[in-house]
């Protein structure tokens, strides 16, 4: 099966309540993210800090058969990307921290994104830890953070995935920010 139709099928299955569909979607979308990143970022611009949340929109349009799914599925697709991206970023952050710590004689490459990550890796790790604690108390709110922060989803899209109102998403978002800021502040 073409990735396009496979992803479309799985998305439909998942939104119809098939939990297993999600497990199969993950590796597919992750692969797509890698491919996309390579293609768009490498070919798009000199200065390599581009806003890629727009890219994922493009990807979705390309990957998923629009005629067969409702628009909310786009948000679901985004939500999965957010989860994947959270994991990817954490891997980078941990690796970055190991490199910083372990020193290693190997020269670290000076790409801009690597420089940005170097500054943010500790914060990312702290945030992830805090988010795990937060998850235990406020499951939905933690999903809001994941989608908004790691996935770049809008309030509207987040609301669609979670099937709650936008006002609720905003409230969740504010409360989560306060809670996480406090937690991270305490951990620092």
């Amino acid at each position: 099966m073409q990735p396009t139709s496979e992803i479309t099928e799985l998305l439909i299955d998942w939104s119809n309540g098939d939990k297993e569909a999600l497990d199969r979607l993950f590796p597919l979308i992750e692969k797509e993210l890698h491919r996309l990143a390579h293609y768009f970022v490498r070919n798009a611009h000199p200065d390599n800090t581009l806003q890629t949340t727009a890219l994922i929109n493009e990807t979705y349009i390309k990957l998923v058969d629009q005629n067969r799914v409702q628009w909310q599925n786009r948000a679901h697709f985004f939500a999965i990307s957010a989860r994947i991206m959270r994991r990817i970023l954490l891997q980078y952050a941990r690796r970055g921290r190991r490199q910083k710590r372990g020193g290693g004689a190997r020269k670290v490459l000076l790409t801009e994104a690597a420089l940005v990550l170097a500054k943010r890796s500790d914060d990312l790790i702290l945030l992830d830890d805090a988010l795990k604690n937060f998850e235990k108390l406020h499951e939905r709110k933690s999903r809001v953070v994941e989608m908004r922060y790691f996935g770049g989803l809008s309030v509207e899209e987040t609301a669609a995935v979670l099937k709650v109102s936008e006002i609720t998403v905003m409230r969740d978002w504010k409360f989560a920010k306060a809670w996480l800021a406090r937690q991270i502040g305490n951990a620092k």
Binding site: F40, V41, N43, P46, G103, L110, A114, F175, K177, N186
Partner: protein
């Protein structure tokens, strides 16, 4: 109950968020009436929310995509492309990756920049690229990275260019902001490069620290001229082809160095580069890009509309500040018209700075040192004219202000103040008060009557060094506190040629003037100089200047260098030997960059101290040096005490004797005496940060944390850049249950092994034992490069409550005779958990603090 409570917290939180100020307070009080846990829960959330502005605002998704993209790029290392052997990947950017390669034809190393297919993919793009790259390749200038050739080999398009070994300016600035002179030099070189390009009709369009290399010789090389244009054009075409992208308003590139017109997508001219140069310039001086915000959108908004803060930090001279501001004018018409004009302006600025620059030239130091000697004599004369009127005055020497806006002249103003205090304090019948509150009377008009009353003195000495058109000048007023009249007003041009002339005439006059009212002894003292060599004197003063700032370990190196040079200039200069002895005596401090073993430090210090005593056995400073050595290395407390006492009897006005004696008194538990001596030292040595800290230490070690804290914060407010001060403050926080704050400080100040043990201890105490163990690993690693005392690891083990291991390491520290060990054992609260252990008594015996 928890669930209900959680719900309540949330609803109160949201409702309170909508209220401001007093409304919110009364709302919270009402809603949480009586439930203090609830109130504090909501309040802490509100405060976290409000102080966390910008938190989570910038999605991390983009960063992740960029990282993925960089990772997936093919690595060409090891391949042979045409005549080039690819050796190593140097970096990557959006334009393409850069490799170090060997040009096998010419046997030279080159950097190859591979361009992405987009730039060379179709005919149009390729033509554009070749045109621009070739135009840039024509540029020849020492500050422009030379392009050797533009090549197409086996499907690869790349630019072969000069391989430059060095760092990017981005890396340099990330380490620390640049000194004014360096920043001016770098700015000048950048602008020279830009001016040449402009004269060839090439706008750079992407001037940023990442595009500027600095070689180890300080030579600046600007990279990538003209290439940004190709990329921009390519981008425009791409945008037209993929309409969704432009609809989505994608913004590409590092926006933080773009001019407002560039961000607006307008047509650019040369003045856009001038704006970018302005940002880079400012970033070098301040250490940060003035417009960079936490998100790209905010950064763009800042460039488009934020003005620079009116105040400049870090003592940037007004003239330099004005130049930067002119570059950064939002309106290009108000900037410099051309890079050439800016180049000229920077040359003028550099002249202004270097003409009077003293720090790197012994000849110039000589000029000021001779001046200080002369001035002290002249002022002595004036004062004694006043003294002869029969009254015995109390004199306050206010710190001489350096208003020349050249921070490297601080040592002159300080040296002058210190010399005056030193000379006058030896005169009987004159009470000299050195005012330690430097900032209070600096750079502001002083009303002699009120200040006189406040300090309880009769005469005030005010001075400042100012920049005049003709050069530096010193203005001095000796004012009567009774009626504010000037007893003596004089302005001296700090001018080499005139100095020698004045020196000869005045010196003899002054001595004649003073003779009747001075005792023979006093006259001798006033005339006495430790050296007749002004160069040696200047070197010594500079050494002391750095020595007073020994809270920064780097400065200790400078102190040693200057003292050494002073002894070389005049080998019979006892004070310089004493300074050298003092410096070596502290060289076994772990934070010290060229840390010495205890044995080496003690040996060097003793040799220098003995040399000083051999030259003049009645001189106080070398005795203090000996005392320091005995207390730090021999752990001969009685011997050290005798040395300090001896020094005080020889010269009751020599501050360090009181300082070190005070530390010894504290170490042996005599806190009240220690405090009194600390005050005395501080009064005599107002500029020394360590002297300022001493009293706070004594309170800290005597467990009076609440008394120590305001003193620490006071010293901190006056020396916000001092890592030592912050380090000490962090230890206080650890003792007062503010582990989080302490960790934040340690993480900030750590450098090499400095602050590391503290950080490890703090981690351990906050339950982060894995992090603490990581620190132990780091200490091990650092110790392969330089001596690190076992005490450092012991501290972390104490935090981890691994008492046996801690004792093991402390015993090792004792065997290495680590200089800071007695202090830790004698009274540091850190070791409190060990004190009841029998092994602790053993350690105390080891450092001679318990009788055998």
């Amino acid at each position: 109950m928890r669930n209900k409570n959680r719900h309540q917290v949330e609803s109160i939180f949201h409702a309170a968020l909508a209220l401001g100020g007093s409304e919110r307070i009364s709302f919270l009080t009402e809603k949480c009436s009586g439930d203090s846990a609830l109130l504090s829960e909501v309040e802490s959330l509100l405060s976290a929310f409000e102080s966390g502005s910008g938190f989570l605002e910038d999605p991390a998704f983009d960063l992740g995509m960029n990282l993925l993209a960089e990772e997936s790029e093919q690595d060409l290392t090891g391949e042979k492309i045409g005549f080039y052997e690819i050796k190593e990947k140097l970096g990557g950017g959006g334009m393409g990756d850069v490799y170090l390669a060997e040009d096998t034809r010419l046997n030279r190393r080159v950097a190859l920049k591979f361009l992405k297919k987009t730039f060379t993919g179709d005919k149009w793009a390729k033509r554009q690229f070749m045109k621009e790259a070739q135009a840039a390749a024509m540029l020849e200038h020492p500050n422009i990275c030379a392009v050797h050739s533009i090549e197409e080999v086996g499907g690869h398009n790349f630019i072969a260019m000069q391989y430059i070994e060095g760092k990017t300016l981005a890396q340099v600035v990330a380490e620390k902001r640049l000194p004014l002179e360096t920043a001016l030099s770098v700015a000048h070189q950048i602008v020279s490069a830009v001016a040449v390009a402009h004269s060839h009709g090439i706008i750079h369009r992407d001037i940023k620290p990442g595009n500027i290399m600095i070689t180890s010789e300080g030579l600046v090389k600007v990279l990538d001229f003209g290439l940004a244009k190709v990329v921009e054009q390519q981008q425009k075409r791409a945008d037209e082809n993929i309409s969704q992208f432009s609809q989505n308003g994608l913004i590409f590139g590092t926006v933080a160095y773009m001019s407002p017109e560039q961000l607006r997508g307008e047509r650019l001219d040369y003045r856009s580069d001038i704006f970018s140069v302005g940002i880079v310039f400012r970033e070098m001086l301040e250490g940060k890009n003035p417009f960079r915000r936490s998100s790209q959108a905010e950064t763009i908004a800042a460039i488009l509309s934020d003005e620079l803060p009116a105040e400049t930090e870090n003592g940037i001279p007004d003239t330099v500040d004005a130049t930067v501001r002119k570059c950064l004018n939002k309106s290009k018409d108000k900037r410099f018209d051309s890079a050439a004009e800016l180049q000229l302006e920077i040359e003028n600025l550099r002249d202004g700075v270097t003409v009077a620059s003293a720090s790197n030239s012994v000849a110039r130091i000589y000029r000021y040192a001779a001046f200080i000697l002369l001035f002290v004599l002249a002022l002595g004369a004036a004062l004694f004219l006043y003294l002869r009127s029969g009254k015995i005055p109390r004199l306050a020497v206010l710190p001489i202000a350096n208003e020349s806006r050249q921070t490297d002249k601080d040592y002159i103003s300080e040296g002058l103040t210190a010399s005056l205090i030193e000379k006058f304090s030896h005169l009987s019948g004159l009470k000299v008060i050195a005012q330690p509150i430097v900032s209070q009377y600096k750079s502001q008009p002083v009303d002699p009557r009120s200040v006189g009353a406040e300090l309880d003195v009769d005469v005030l000495l005010l001075g400042k060094i100012i920049q005049k058109e003709s050069g530096l000048a010193l203005q001095v007023d000796l004012l009567s506190a009774a009626d504010g009249t000037a007893l003596f007003t004089k302005e001296y041009a700090v001018d080499e040629a005139r100095l020698i002339e004045i020196h000869q005439n005045l010196a003899s006059q002054i001595i004649a003037e003073l003779t009747p009212s001075l005792s023979e002894d006093e006259k001798k003292r006033l005339e006495k100089r430790q050296t007749n060599d002004p160069e040696a004197y200047a070197l010594y003063l500079t050494g002391r200047y750095w020595w007073n700032r020994r809270d920064d370990p780097k400065n200790m190196e400078k102190a040693i260098d200057f003292f050494t040079k002073a002894t070389e200039a005049d080998p019979a200069y006892a004070l310089a030997w004493a300074g050298l002895a003092d410096s070596y005596a502290l060289s076994n401090t772990s934070s010290f960059e060229r840390v010495m073993t205890a044995t080496d430090a003690a040996r060097n210090a003793k040799a220098a101290a003995k040399e000083a005593i051999k030259i003049d056995s009645n001189l106080a400073p070398p005795h203090v040096s000996l005392g320091i050595i005995k207390s730090r290395y021999d752990w001969d407390w009685l011997g050290a005490e005798n040395d300090f006492k001896k020094s005080i009897s020889l010269d009751p006005e020599y501050a360090p004797a009181y300082f070190w004696y005070s530390r010894l008194l504290a170490l042996t538990g005599r806190y009240d005496e220690a405090l009194a001596y600390a005050d005395k030292a501080r009064e005599l040595e107002p500029f020394s940060v360590t002297s300022q800290l001493n009293k706070a230490h004594i309170y800290f070690y005597s467990r009076n944390f609440d008394l120590a804290e305001p003193l620490y914060t006071d010293v901190f407010s006056r020396n916000p850049g001092s890592a030592k001060v912050q380090n000490d403050l962090a230890w206080l926080y650890l003792q007062t249950d503010r582990t989080k704050e302490a960790i934040a400080i340690f993480e900030k100040i750590r450098r090499g092994d400095y602050g590391l043990a503290g950080l490890g201890y703090a981690y351990a105490r906050s339950g982060r034992s894995n992090d603490a163990r990581r620190i132990i690993g780091e200490l091990d690693r650092v110790s392969k490069e330089k001596p690190v005392s076992a005490q450092e690891k012991a501290i972390v083990y104490i935090g981890l409550n691994e008492i046996d291991t801690a004792f093991e390491h402390l015993t090792r520290a004792c065997n290495e005779r680590y200089a800071a060990l007695p202090q830790l054992l004698a009274h540091d609260p850190l070791t409190d958990p060990l004190r009841t252990d029998a092994r602790f008594a053993e350690l105390l015996r080891c450092v001679n603090l318990l009788p055998n």
